[in-house]
Amino acid sequence: MNQDKVSSVFDFKWVKQLRYYWDDEIDGGDCIIKQVSACLRYGYEYMGATSRLVITPLTDRCWITISNALHIKLGANPAGPAGTGKTESTKDLAKAIAIQCIVFNCSDQVDYKMMGRLFSGLCQQGCWTCLDEFNRIDIEVLSVIAQQLLQVRKALLAELTQFHFEGRDIRIRDTFGTHVTMNPGYAGRTELPDNLKVLFRPVAMMIPDYGLIAEIMLFAEGFGNAKILSKKMVQLYKLSSEQLSQQDHYDFGLRAVKSVLVMAGSLKRANPDLVEDGVLIRAMRDANVPKFLKDDLPLFSAIIQDLFPSIEITPNNYGNLKTTIEEIITLNDLQVHPPFVIKVIELFETFNVRFGVMLVGLTGSGKTTCYEVLEKTMTTMRERNDENQVY
């Protein structure tokens, strides 16, 4: 703080932080949270011991917008491309001030009645809601939603405890908040009408701070020299997105980075004696190689070689898994074809780190067979009481 020349409590660098105070004057004492000019009450909602986000300047900016929008009873509207942490930032702020946040994924089937029900529930509970991909809702429905939100806002401004909403008198709590996230410019998205725009404070979230996030997450996963590794990793992703061929299914966004970091963490804990560089390289290879076309593989290995010159990349040893897969393939009167076996293993690895997986390939490239073989293999290994619980 001294380096940043923060000397008074009114300095912006201090004021912009999320600060917790105990205030005796509000009915018997209560915890309040201040950020810039905003002043919110602590929500006392227990969320469990969950992991939190890495705080970057971008999250800070998003939080300032949200908290100050709430202060004047508006909502916030983080907008930007996929995987920049719009929803996660909102959820994390809700965690920070201990308020439940309902994430709802909007679609074009959503109608005004359903939204009315959602809002009335939220008003009564005083929860936040984060409406994901808000601009997928039809424009006719959006204008009704604007009306509903305006009603709620009027009630909040008048500090009512009861108000008339959608034909019913309902209770309202002042912790209510609505936030919408959207990706402008994607297929099937509409522009928000002006009367809705004024109810939300916009905040642009374009490029997340990959370096900082990677560094802190690597430290959190137990890596020693995370600073250098994170720099190299970010560089690798940048080079890959620039040099490899352009494919629809290639993605080097934040989610990809995060899955690599989680993978690296579990690898590190499984083999604590390995060199850290090696662990990270293995994680990056395991996470990325499955999706590459054949022509891009040499390019990717070349990039890895350039960034980690002295590291020998050892081929992975799958032991039991590989032999069982080959067994299953023969049992089903199919041919043991080494590249195919590798694909099955890659599918298994991807399943371990991701919730949703896509098998991409032309007709007849063996997509169905690939997952069927893996399914049978995993069942067989489970029945054989393999010591490894992942099967």
Binding site: A187, D248, P339, T350, F351, V357
Partner: protein, 163 residues
Amino acid sequence: MGEMYGEVNEVSQEWKDGLASKVMRNAAKELDEDRTWVIFDGPVDALWIENMNTVLDDNMTLCLANGQRIKLRSQMRMLFEVQDLAVASPATVSRCGMVYLTEEELGWKPYVKTWIKVFFAENAAMTEELKEQLWNNFEFTIDPGLQFIRESGVEPIKTTDLQ
């Protein structure tokens, strides 16, 4: 869309579950620790897969149009089988892990081998030697043949080696 995720019946104003929501609801109801895979076969379209967005990221909830939210178990996995992702939005692509299967890697040979093995399995007249001979004939003719067609002929419809 209504068949997939469910819709409100206009006449009776009742909610009727769709295919996907039903499958997921049943899968989410199971209490044991078994792994469950939900497999979607067929082309991905931005229209229906966008509804999966909250399913595929950390929230793991399926949001239906009537405001219901189905919380899925962490043992569940979604698998999509698609030919390409030309119409999927980046929001979906970034949420999924990808495994790309190249047809050059597989080629036509494993198919023929399996065919020889299965088709003549019951046939006693087909000795190992004859099978070997048949396989050699395949190997001898197909690759140069395909090469010839592609170099000096015209393919009205583009084909890959496999077809």
